[in-house]
Amino acid sequence: MIRIAAVGDVHVDKDVVGRYRPALEQLPYRADALLVAGDLTRHGTVEEARCFAAEFGGLAVPVVVVLGNHDHQSDQQSRVAEVLTEAGITVLEGEATVLELHGHRLGIAGVKGFGGGFAGACASNFGEREMKDFVGTTEVVADRLAAALLSVQVDALVALTHYAPVPETLVGEPLEIYPFLGSYQLGRAIDSAPTSLALHGHAHHGSERGRTPGGVAVRNVAHPVIKQAYNVYQLLSDRTDAELAGVS
């Protein structure tokens, strides 16, 4: 059994430091790792990254994050990632990391992701250069996510993004802005690997639960959606129970 804590869109600045810490200090009793689905900061400044590192760093469990669109706002995303890495936080962008937890290997592949929309209502890689750049960006990012997911041999595999891979977890947002909240290309990447769980944020008015066409559980962990410091998800419990049942 592995327990994963997850939250997104915490938008930390100096006014937020200390708000999450009491709940984060309880993490070792509740989960084996913490995943944060982007929008760690308000404007993506180095100062805000230091605030995030102070609030979410130095915990007794591993912390793995992707950046979100807010973390790109000041064009300092590389420095932001450096500050987080120096604080012991794993930042994923087109890579995977493996955590050894209770004898299990948990793989986490992460990208920020991008928009584009969903089947039947999505942008196409066609026309003006700006439109091809927009959709082309999503295609590149989705390919990197698929490659990262397939790069590890693990017992449980989690996809971590900021943008949404399915429309079900956007329900509550205006339909008109779905193409700016996620892309089916991310869902296709997730379905191309033996993914156990996909976590994302970005959609503050969205819904918590969805599933990819391939059957992978999707959870929108944006803070305004889950309305607590983090959610906890349990993986690998069914298999263990089934094995025990088989033995008996």
């Binding site: 327990r3 869109d9 915490v10 938008h11 930390v12 600045d13 006014d15 937020v16 708000r19 999450y20 009491p22 709940a23 309880q26 509740r30 308000r42 404007h43 807010h70 706002q73 156990s196 769980l197 503050h204 008015h205 559980a217 803070h223 305004p224 309305k227 607590q228 410091a229 983090y230 959610n231 906890v232 998800y233 349990q234 993986l235 419990s237 069914d238």
Partner: protein
């Protein structure tokens, strides 16, 4: 405010909420009532909620504003969801 300006008011408010560096919020819903605007959503601190209301009041002094913005709770969870 003339009729055309009224039509663009919601867009102007949304631009202010997102693009003004003092606010930078994408998760606030703007509801138009006949003579008022209601702001709905959740932010991370009291200061951010107060700054939103201050900015909207300053830029649109003729509007009556109801600020129903809450502060997202940050307590530890009490339940675990099993993923299968």
């Amino acid at each position: 405010m003339n009729q055309i300006d009224e039509e663009y008011l919601e867009a102007e408010i949304q631009r202010l909420l997102t693009e003004d560096g003092r606010v930078a919020e994408q998760g606030i819903t703007v509801q138009r009532r006949e003579h008022a605007v209601v702001l709905l959503g959740d932010v991370e601190s009291d200061q951010r909620r107060d700054e939103i209301c201050r900015q909207i009041a300053e830029h649109f002094p003729e509007l009556a504003i109801t600020c129903d913005i809450g502060i997202t709770r940050a307590q530890a969870p009490s339940e675990v969801e099993e993923i299968s």
